[in-house]
């Protein structure tokens, strides 16, 4: 064989090895031709459809890493790899995959168990209505359910289909009409058979790239076996019960106050049942958590170090993509942590309403 032939053989082999996978990926997806309204209805109907798969989410929000919010910062500021098995809202499992182990959430009739491999511990907790976001909230069907809640048909339009996890998924764009929203649009691609959302992208106003993306890389619409949502703590592992899940749950249960029914023109959600206020719906939501001085202090310090921080009359304000965060009060004081996918103006109006209309109760 002549030298040129040898090199040609190597070059052709390399081109095939690189080119074939790229060509397979580049094949255009087939579109079913479903209308935007029908697709929206299909996705809403598929919210409780069982599924399993492998999911990757990518957040670009550089949230403050204050002690009790580190997990939330990681969820929305980093890449998260997950495996999920969803039988129903009452039986599911989401594993957060790490190169050093796993941190898993298993939900069944007992409650929600968190398993941490490296710490070799399992914690059972109840499922409070008010809590901070966790990995199970990042899977595409959960994100779509939250963001497409209470959407008007006039706010959605069709997007071309896209291949997601091997499925030719028709797309939907939601452009919220609410003036308080900081989100420009949300794109959702769904499985045309089950209606399960396969990919969701959230783009902030004024941005061109998504601030948050979550997508299946492997997807199966069949019901996972019951064994996937059972969990028996391993022998030798520390096993305990937590009656308080996180800082939002603690404040909701024990802070002796009741927030107003409406702030910044947004009505309180029916899920709010304590001291923490949840307002708005769909893509226009905000959460108001009362904080004591010792909890607000470290968070305020972190916020003051965040790029683009502003000090306004009502407190410390940071805007991170579509997420606005306002911590009321000044150094040494407690205050309201108000966060949501709303404009800075909405946050400050919400702070004013909270100051004016919060009711203090004697005991909780």
């Amino acid at each position: 064989m002549r030298p040129a032939h040898r090199w040609t053989a190597v070059a052709v082999g390399t081109a095939l090895l690189v080119g074939i996978p790229l060509a397979v990926r580049a094949r255009p997806a087939e579109d079913s031709g479903i209308s935007a309204v029908d697709l929206l209805a299909k996705v809403e109907a598929g919210a409780d459809h069982p599924y399993s798969g492998y999911v990757e989410s990518l957040g670009t929000l550089q949230l403050p890493t204050a002690d009790r919010f580190t997990d939330v910062g990681q969820l929305f500021g980093e890449r998260t790899r997950m495996r999920v098995w969803w039988r129903s809202a009452d039986a599911w499992r989401v594993d957060k995959l790490l190169t050093t182990g796993e941190q898993d959430l298993v939900h069944n009739a007992q409650g929600t168990t968190r398993w941490r491999y490296e710490q070799h511990d399992a914690t059972l907790s109840r499922d409070p209505s008010i809590r901070l976001p966790r990995t199970a909230d990042l899977v595409p069907p959960a994100v779509a359910k939250l963001l497409l809640d209470d959407v008007d048909a006039s706010e959605v339009r069709r997007l071309p289909a896209r291949r997601v996890a091997g499925v030719d998924a028709p797309g939907l764009r939601l452009q919220p009409a609410a003036p308080q929203s900081s989100i420009d649009h949300v794109d959702v691609w769904a499985d045309p058979r089950s209606g399960v959302a396969l990919r969701v992208e959230v783009v902030a106003k004024g941005a061109t790239r998504p601030a948050f993306t979550t997508a299946f890389r492997q997807f199966d619409a069949r019901t996972p076996p019951p064994s996937r949502t059972e969990f028996e703590p391993p022998a030798g592992a520390e096993y305990r019960f937590d009656d308080v899940l996180d800082i939002a749950d603690a404040a909701n249960q024990y802070a002796p106050i009741l927030p107003p029914d409406v702030v910044a023109g947004l009505a309180e959600s029916p899920q709010a049942d304590g001291a923490v206020g949840v307002y708005g719906s769909g893509v226009t939501r905000l959460l108001a958590v009362p904080m004591r001085g010792r909890e607000a202090g470290p968070l305020r310090e972190q916020l003051l170090r965040t790029l683009g921080v502003r000090t306004v009359d009502s407190g410390t304000l940071v805007t991170l993509g579509p997420l606005g965060v306002l911590l009321t009060g000044t150094e040494g004081e407690g205050g309201w942590l108000i966060a949501g996918t709303v404009t800075p103006d909405t946050l400050t109006r919400a702070a004013d309403d909270l100051f004016a209309n919060t009711v203090y109760v004697s005991t909780r």
């Binding site: 082999g13 594993d95 050093t100 182990g101």
Partner: protein, 274 residues
């Protein structure tokens, strides 16, 4: 061909450098085990090599922790040096010309050198695994209950499953190192000094590792040689997550094919002056 292979393997086993290299690689996990035993302080969650936190309660997992310790840096360096020396070393010593004067085809010589490198990696992995098992059990003990280890997903793993998955992980690590060997072997046919071939290989690996830390390099991440090296951890999830293991296998296979092909094309054509 068999005779040529025999000569290469004989040289490998007789070489003092082979055993010194293996000893040095083996030393690091052994030091780690001793320190864990003395201090009883594991790595903070998310910071140390995989399985290192678990070995404090289950020493039988130490071969896996040892692999996670040596795989990212020490083993690739050793493989790059070994494979980089394969052709360039002969050229530097002036023996390549004489070697090829014998009725030995260049392609056969290249294959024999590759087999020798594979044998080196196998030998190293075996020594590291056996030493780590003995050191792990002796120093860290086994506090397992009912003979079961725990998968990273929190489910029990029988002794048989643990052994099978450990062998799968070792086979996967061998394949990853085969990719490194193919790159080094190719460079060894290009340059005349083993150091240049080894350094060139390390430059590729360091560059790949660096690019993997950048979100901006996402579009090419799946093609970078070190992308799936640590996917062997997925063999210890329940159920096994094959996705990255399969992708890593295909990727390393592609690197081996392309760089061995390039090494063959270059070496078969090259003028041998030394």
């Amino acid at each position: 061909m068999i005779r040529l292979l025999g000569v290469e393997l004989h040289q490998l086993v007789r070489s003092r450098r082979t055993w010194v290299t293996i000893l040095l690689i083996d030393l690091l996990p052994t030091i780690v085990a001793v320190l864990l035993k003395l201090t009883d302080i594991g790595p903070r969650p998310g910071t140390g090599p995989a399985f290192l936190s678990a070995v404090l309660t289950d020493g039988t997992l130490f071969p896996l922790a040892a692999m996670a310790i040596v795989l990212p840096l020490f083993l690739p360096i050793a493989v790059a040096i070994q494979a980089g020396d394969a052709i360039a070393g002969e050229a530097e010593q002036g023996t390549l010309r004489y070697l090829l004067v014998r009725p030995v085809g260049r392609t056969r010589l290249l294959v024999a050198k590759l087999v020798s490198v594979i044998a080196f990696v196998l030998l190293t992995l075996a020594v590291v695994a056996v030493t780590a098992y003995v050191v792990g059990v002796l120093l860290l003990g086994t506090q397992r209950v009912a003979g079961a280890t725990t998968t990273v997903s929190g489910t029990p793993l029988t002794q048989g499953e643990l052994v099978t998955r450990t062998f799968l992980a070792l086979a996967y690590a061998l394949l990853c190192m085969l990719g490194v060997a193919a790159i080094a072997l190719f460079l060894s046919t290009v340059v005349d000094t083993p150091l240049a071939a080894a350094m060139g290989t390390m430059a590729v690996l360091v560059g790949s590792t660096l690019l993997l830390t950048l979100d901006a390099a996402d579009s090419i991440a799946a093609f970078l040689p070190t992308r799936y090296w640590l996917a062997f951890v997925d063999l210890f999830r329940d159920p096994i997550l094959w996705r990255d293991v399969v992708r890593g296998t295909l990727l390393q296979g592609a690197y081996v094919l392309v760089f061995l092909g390039a090494g063959w094309a270059n070496f078969a054509t090259k003028d041998i002056t030394r």
